[in-house]
């Protein structure tokens, strides 16, 4: 992808609050009209990355190109094109109608205002006659979230950034929000970036899922993260012992509390103990879910080893031959040499710090 094709090009961006570094992205390109998911634990930097890409904040270092040109908060190139729906959306102290019409007013686009607000509300399943005149304080959490999204969709943005859009809302709101977000991409070619803990949804809808950990992009969303600390073994390997007594074995970490990253492509599902392997990292787990990945058409199996989830890529034929289904016990295997490392405070990209 060339810089011209990318809606975003992130170069050597680092961001910190006070002196605390919260994000570092060496390079990232987001293609136009793509749906990109961001996953990662709380505090991994997802919201910060979205705020930077939404040009709400300026990165402490580095630059973000929007359609090949440097952009910053309030710049004309992005003001009316990029919009962010934050995790706890704020509705202004006015009616639903005025909240949704606010962005249109800023753009001086007041034609058929009520009609357009009604249309935006309908995308989210909110009848205009019921909600238009309601005050911000008269909405439930799910309704407020839907109104906030309607206020963005009515602008028909080129880029829509959604930060945990389905967190803390009811099931009906979740479905409405998901459908409306996808409508933006399908009908107007809007580029969507979605941060969510809903892996299943992200795998289903996203062209690409990126994983963040400790303020760093650790690769595609199928990376498995195993936290330290690690203990040295007599055979030169290192290990983490799980509550059930199973051992995760790795090569020597850079520091004892380093974080191990295992690509899901490197993990195999086995139907019986394979004597051909060295016996390390044969882990017994239970399948918790199977999700069809949009791009590869492979199936991502989530396998719980103790309480630790491992995402494993499984070709559909193998799922069929092994009769994999949620609830079934299964063994997985990965080589200790396939583990890559990151550690707290280190900004080394795992792909550059092999074992």
């Amino acid at each position: 992808m060339t810089v011209k094709d990318a809606v975003y090009q992130v170069n050597e961006v680092a961001h910190h609050y006070a002196v605390e570094p919260v994000l570092r992205v060496e390079a990232l390109a987001i293609p136009q009209a793509a749906i990109v998911g961001l996953i990662g634990p709380n505090g991994s930097g997802k919201s910060t990355l979205l705020r930077l890409l939404g040009f709400v904040e300026k990165p402490s270092r580095g630059e973000i190109l929007f359609k090949g040109r440097p952009a910053a908060p309030f710049s004309k190139a992005v003001r009316f094109k990029v919009t962010l729906l934050s995790q706890e959306p704020y509705l202004m102290r006015r009616s639903v109608l005025k909240n949704i019409a606010y962005g249109l007013g800023l753009r001086g686009s007041r034609d058929n205002l009520r009609l357009r607000v009604a249309e935006a509300l309908s995308w989210l399943g909110l009848p205009y006659e019921v909600f238009a005149d309601r005050q911000w304080s008269e909405l439930s959490g799910g309704e407020a979230q839907r109104v906030a999204l309607a206020a963005r969709l009515v602008l028909r943005p080129e880029v829509l950034l959604l930060d945990e859009p389905t967190a803390s809302v009811d099931a009906i709101s979740v479905e409405r929000i998901k459908a409306a977000a996808l409508k933006a991409r399908d009908e107007w070619g809007t580029t969507l970036l979605i941060a969510s803990h809903d892996w299943q949804w992200l795998y289903e809808v996203c062209d690409e899922v990126l994983q963040l950990f400790n303020g760093q992009l650790v690769g595609p969303g199928r990376m498995n993260i195993v936290l330290g600390p690690w203990q040295a073994r007599p055979d030169g390997y290192w290990q983490k012992v799980l509550a059930s007594g199973q051992e995760i074995v790795t090569t020597a970490p850079p520091v004892a509390d380093a974080v191990a990253v295992v690509d899901s492509d490197k993990i195999a599902v086995v139907d019986a103990i394979d004597s051909g392997r060295d016996g390390k990292n044969m882990l017994k787990g239970t399948i918790s879910r199977l999700v069809l990945e949009k791009g590869s058409r492979n199936i991502v199996a989530t396998i719980l080893v103790d309480t630790m989830p491992f995402a494993v890529m499984v070709p559909p034929k193998r799922v069929e031959s092994l009769n994999l289904c949620p609830g079934r016990e299964i063994d997985i295997y990965f080589s200790p040499n396939s583990v890559k490392w990151i550690h707290q405070g280190d900004n080394t990209h795992p792909n550059k710090s092999g074992s």
């Binding site: 705020r51 939404g54 040009f55 709400v56 908060p73 309030f74 003001r79 009316f80 990029v82 919009t83 962010l84 729906l85 934050s86 706890e88 959306p89 704020y90 202004m92 102290r93 606010y102 962005g103 800023l106 753009r107 906030a148 206020a151 963005r152 602008l155």
Partner: protein
Amino acid sequence: MDFILTGFRMAIELLLHGDAETYSAIFATVRVSSYSMTVSLLIGVPLGFVLGYLRFPGRKQVRVVVDTLLSLPTVFIGLVVYAFLSQRGPLGDWGLLFTLPGIAIGQTILALPVVMALSASAVENMDRQLRVTLISLGVNRRQLLLSSLWEVRHGILAAALTAYGRVMTEVGISMMVGGNIKWHTRTMTTAIALETNKGLFAMGVALGLVLLAIAFAVNLSVSFLRKRV
């Protein structure tokens, strides 16, 4: 107890019969408080916004100074303003001593820290997501400022009401800078002080009740306004 009941009766009579002296004091009070409130809001709200919104070196120290000024004694303000406006003072040539604008200067000094401190608090308590939301919807810097100000309008209204309460009820500045001159600089509070000194408690109570009625009317209007916006 009788003088309190008599005071109630007299208050109604004074208002209904259009007692000239009472109305002169009411007009003087309303005029002088309008001057001081206008100036203190025009200066205090923007400064309070800056104090609550921006992070700049020395902000905490400025905040401490403003908070300290909340407890400025009115007699001290009266004394300082008197010193500045008297013939021997640096602003003596302005000829503002014993005038309503002179009192208004003192009352502005009284109200300004109240408006600033409470506006700054309202802005500080503003939801941090408001800024993110406004920028996400496409505001420019000016629109960000105005919309943020509009979102904290109830807090600023409360600041204005609190300051108005202090200005309306102060006596030290009006007495020292205004001189309590009948038909000229006599305000409600200085009239009450005078009547009480003369032993006319009922008249004092009556004027106090009128003052209370004005405060009630202002609060009622603001409450109505708050529901509308």
